[in-house]
Symmetry: C2
């Protein structure tokens, strides 16, 4: 209804402040976005058994892994890191979301995990490359955008902070994707242990120069309540989560949880874990920002790198051929249209 306000807009004259009506622009954008629908691509990474699938199902209240086939130990040892994609169309209050989950099953399962991050990094790059080709092409009406907007990286609750593999993985990916670290299966840790482990992990992230997803700064004009919640969110990293797809009864209420002989773990109880905080961040408050950072920072970085390395290739090729017009080369390189020229010459060469 808000988006129609334009029709009802009142113009008052004579003493009152007049109103043009462009204040409805955000509503027009709002309306258009609903009409068009949304998409979001979430990657989950981390070793098997940390509850990646369960968490995703809990987050989106959907069963993305109906047909999953669990591998036995023998299969898992020799298995390469295989990337799988699940897509569901979900709708809520008239808002449509095409959700894609990119899974990296078997990650870290092998005995030797050297460069196991490579296929994941390649996957992310391939999506960027495809988008680069598509947006440079002639018909851009229905480009399928498969760029990965966020990577939930699951850290084992059993490690003393980060494991070398965690560091290697995150460092290999942090300039390609928004990494959100998750402290998995937090129901094996007491509140005090969670606190200590979080502190240690944050410290190590800092120490190793890992650039995880940075929550945008709060606007100064926000109310105190909002600012406090925002600060709490920032202090919760890595989100300690417990997933569950089963509903149990706790104190007469039916809740998502895990029933232990010593009590019931309630997934959505913020005294028990950060599940609700993570979901709020990922879905309700920062989903659009994750998309914007992907588009404006990670993709633009990829594109710039791509153009630059192609340029170097072309220059080398020209030198090899001893092209006579070597002189103006440097100046030309600074010319934007030349950049494009080089880019696409190379893109062309790759394909032809």
């Amino acid at each position: 209804a808000a988006s129609h306000s334009g029709w009802q807009g009142q113009v008052r004259t004579g003493g009152h402040k007049e109103y043009v009506g462009f204040a409805t622009l955000p509503n027009q954008v709002h309306r258009k976005s609903v009409k068009k629908g949304f998409d979001f691509t979430l990657m989950v990474a981390g070793e098997s058994g940390l509850g990646k699938s369960t968490l995703v199902n809990s987050l989106f209240l959907t069963d993305l892994y109906k047909d999953r086939k669990l591998l036995n130990a023998e299969e898992r040892i020799t298995q390469t890191v295989e990337i799988t994609k699940h897509t569901v169309d979900i709708e809520e209050k008239g808002v449509k979301l095409k959700l894609t989950i990119v899974d990296t099953p078997g990650f870290g399962d092998a005995v030797n995990n050297t460069e196991c991050w490579k296929s994941v990094a390649d996957y992310i790059d391939q999506q960027f490359e495809q988008y680069f080709r598509d947006e440079s092409g002639l018909n851009r009406k229905n480009i399928q955008d498969n760029r990965v907007h966020c990577c939930l990286y699951f850290i084992s609750p059993f490690g003393h902070g980060l494991r070398p593999l965690d560091v290697e993985f995150m460092k290999a990916l942090h300039e390609k994707v928004n990494i959100v670290p998750i402290l998995a299966k937090a129901d094996t840790l007491t509140p005090n242990e969670v606190k200590k482990k979080k502190f240690k992990i944050r410290e190590e992230i800092e120490q190793y120069g890992i650039k995880i997803y940075q929550f945008p700064d709060c606007d100064s004009d926000e109310d105190e309540d909002f600012k406090q919640q925002d600060q709490e969110l920032k202090d919760s990293i890595p989100f300690a989560v417990i997933g569950s797809n089963t509903v149990v009864e706790a104190k007469g209420k039916r809740v998502r949880g895990r029933l232990y002989p010593w009590g019931i773990v309630e997934v959505e109880n913020s005294a028990h874990c950060d599940f609700v905080k993570l979901r709020n961040m990922l879905v309700r408050t920062h989903m659009q920002d994750l998309k914007d950072v992907t588009r404006e920072t990670h993709y633009e970085n990829y594109r710039a790198h791509c153009i630059q390395s192609m340029t170097r290739m072309v220059v080398k090729e020209r030198n090899r051929k001893q092209t006579p017009n070597r002189n103006g080369e440097e100046a030309m390189l600074m010319n934007i249209s030349s950049w494009i020229k080089f880019t696409t010459e190379c893109l062309g060469n790759q394909v032809i």
Copy 2:
């Protein structure tokens, strides 16, 4: 406040339908758009004296033409069509709009107006070209988008329908910009004359194959009130307007209007003219659509034409040079990356 709803989102379990929370996505978009601010570029065209400047000032309640210098008859006869740009930053209810008005003073003033639309068409193309270069370049962070989103074309109330110049102008521009025809200075026409003239003009627009801006179809799920207003809007073309920047007193109220010995013309009285309808359409309901159509249709058409004509140039050049690899040429042309290659080779040649 709506945009914060994520924080307050309630998750209800036990019998109630659970709620993930991505329904807040449009609010996240809404919020981001407000933060970023909006821009809109409006062109006004038509012969001098039809009240273009007055209308623009009335529409946006701002004085865009403080420093305007009116030319005398002698100056106007020899004057070429000169394009001028005025930009104002306006704010309303926290929503910021950078409004640019592109004016074509003197249009139609000369004795011989052959091809007077050319400089206007060139101007629009130049903005597209600049954008094409910028979005193909390396640093795309702060691209200035000067593409023209809408052209209000002023039709004289004295013509018997459209004049040949009107037809020529609109046909020259209708594939480059969203044309909204305006029946200017409607206070010289009786309601019956307005009705007849509108009908005639609509008929001629149809007859000459002029493609003016098409209001998007109403969603089927809209309420009846909205649908009716939408239909009324479509039936109002061309908008019969009367502009005024002076406030007069009518029946005890102070209104924008024109004081005649026989009565007061109230600009914002919908029984007197379509000013409010035009403003509602342009500002409150369709501004975002005008931008989207510009981006998705007019600009994409320009870009495709540009790439295609460049390709032809390159092919011709190659044939002239009798390049040996003539054989695979056609196949290559179909290859997207080749398209880009050709494009940018040409773009490069133009600049170097």
